[in-house]
Amino acid sequence: MNTQTVEYNDKVVRQFMLASIMWGLVAMCAGVLIASQMSFHVLNFDTPWLTFGRLRPLHTNAAIFAFVGNMIFAGIYHSTQRLTRTRLASDFLSRLHFWGWQAIIVAAAITLPLGFSRGKEYAELIWPINIAVTLIWVVFAINFFWTLAIRNEKSLYVASWFYIATIITVAMLYIVNHLQIPTSLLHAYPIFGGVQDALVQWWYGHNAVAFFLTTPVLGIMYYYLPKAAERPIYSYRLSVVHFWSLVFVYIWAGPHHLLNTALPEWLQTLGMIFSLMLWAPSWGGMLNGLLTLRGAWHKLRTDPVLKFFAAGVTFYGMSTFEGPLLAIRSVNALSHYTDWTIGHVHSGTLGWNSFMAAGMFYWLAPRLYNTRLFSVKLADLHFWTGMVGILLYVASMWVSGITQGLMLNSVTPEGVLAYPNFLDAVLSTRAMLNTRIVGGTFFLFGFILMAYNIFRTIRSGSPVTTTVEVEIPEKKPREGMGLLRGLISAPVIYAFLLVLFACLWGVGQGILSTISFVLLIETALVAMIHMSLSGSKWSDWYDRLLESWLPFSVLTLIAVVAGGMIQILPTVFLDQTRGEDGPWQRVYSPLELAGRDIYVREGCYNCHSQMIRPLVGEVMRYGPSGRLAESIYDFPFQWGSKRTGPDLQRVGFKYPNIWHFQHMENPRSTSPGSTMPNYPWLMRQKTDLASLTKKIEVQRFLGVPFPERSPEKILADSLAQGQLIVDDLAKSGVQISPDKEIIALIAYIQGLGRTVSPPQPAPEINPGLETVINEEAAQAKNP
């Protein structure tokens, strides 16, 4: 038996840790600014790149991908090397991963304020950056799996499983939700539209939370919490069950973001049920984390690391309790589109992600720089200011959200809206919005304390080299099993047969269903007898499977693909208009399409929805509830997720053109008390009419029945429609040319809610009828 000294690559860990702290400051500063803009509209500074609609995507993307992204990379690279007793496979790939990711963040920080956006939440980045993200994620995946392949410890700790699930699932989600067709270097339309786009988006959006903000941080919890508590995880078996339950359940829950919308009801029910099922594994994981501290609770008084971990894990439990609660359809009717959702999201990101990050950084920094933490008192102060900040933030958003929901849905005994003016709800919650600013500022202050504390810690030490002595056996240790051997074996064959018979039983008819049920029971019995007769072999097989990253990863992929399939495939191939006898969406005119792209660029979807739910208050306030066929030509969909302003699905011709002009110029002139920014640049900037030809060509390819028009005709039609609006504005004394952006935006807004009758369905063909139809057609041709 030879020994070998392995030197870990901690340079990249240090880099990711520092990048996370730096971008965390940026994300939180942006958060406090946009929270302030919700109360004080002057903080938009009448400047395009400082308006709420453009900065909110910057805040969310920076928090998720820059702050938490760099944090999880630091944690994964640090813990994986120790758990595998192996240096990262490639220094080059590690460097490429780090610098590539930072370049992506910088590109996002430049393009988002400039208004280059895809108009989908947490997926706003434009297509060239999407490609870069995919490539860098592949670099990360190669580096990680390569390290697993050459590891010196044959067992794979449960944290590694969470990392594997993260890498595989995020890749799948990101690619599917970013399928798009470019119209230019900086613009593209998603290949999905309307309800298809809504479902793909929230399948991605929900699971971005699940597999980017949760599973990797759970992996980090399973490594660093035992390390900090100096005792193994409370129940390793429970951690295994926790992992598989989450992978199995999480991927199905996305539709709960679309409850009470035009989404098919069976999908809403599916999303709700799986969301409720999430209670069990989430609380199992939380309890496993907290029970690890058994016998070590006294350390919380002196150890800031454990303090942050204990609070972080508790917030994980609280927010994963609240999430399924909000996914109950009747609760969602009250909470959706309100600040309650914002409070829920922040109890997760601030309480779970940020506190786990802080605990990990306080643990890592002294060890990576061979020194002691600069100040435990400062870390304690960080903890308490952060905790007060979160509580102020979350509590104020609860109160604000419930107030908004109750007021906006309230109907008097006489059958009219109790608060017909939307602004009543906005003004009633102003105190809570101001409390949110205070809470956010507290949290930011605590984070600044951490940045200073870590900075002083680093200055007091120097980068340390960590090595480990690894025993190299004469013969290479058994490498688990290959992919083929892993998947073609008795347990997998029995599992496959059980799944097959269960499917046939579930979907088969008559005798097929009965036979399948009998075979299902028989196979289960045979499998149990086989398992009991060769128990050791099966255990051995299972152990070896857990040591083999490739078959393990394939099985993880199967689990998440199967869950995703049910949401994605039916919607991809869904005929949205099938059976729709209600109103259909009217195809946009070229000028309206240009106006829509301005609406997306300015991020109007951050505050306005375009989906009226079938609730009494909403129907009375906005008009009939939204139907599937009313957004089939929307690439991307703009249903929104929050109403800081009213729904706009049927706002067309509700107000005259001059009202919209004045409202965009200064919202307070038409809506006293509004917090909406001014948009003076829309009156100055010219509409990009030249790009319409290509945009319409792409939309036609996507299935939108735009009539064929030459580029000259598109231009002429746009200016002609613009001139009609200009002439109308002139009656109110406004002089403006038809090629200005405000004209295109007014054209789009006035078109919202304008529908057409559904086309007549084609007659059904059968042998007898076909002859009649052909004869009728012949008669029509030759009357």
Binding site: E153, S155, Y157, W244, F248, E469, Y542, A559, A562, D575
Partner: protein
């Protein structure tokens, strides 16, 4: 481009199949986890505590 194919006839089987496949993988690993030998559980739980040297 996606508006021509209707799904209603096969969405039911897809839903059942997807659920059963996911549940199958889950149950498969649940049974495996519950049958893990205690020695293996202890060994894996101790993995974060392996010794390392700093210089």
């Amino acid at each position: 481009m996606f508006h021509q194919v209707s799904f209603a006839d096969w969405s039911g089987p897809v839903a059942v199949a997807a659920f059963v496949v996911s549940a199958g993988v889950f149950l498969f690993f649940l049974v495996g986890a519950l049958r893990m030998p205690q020695s293996k559980v202890q060994h894996d739980a101790e993995l974060p505590f392996q010794k390392e040297n700093q210089s």
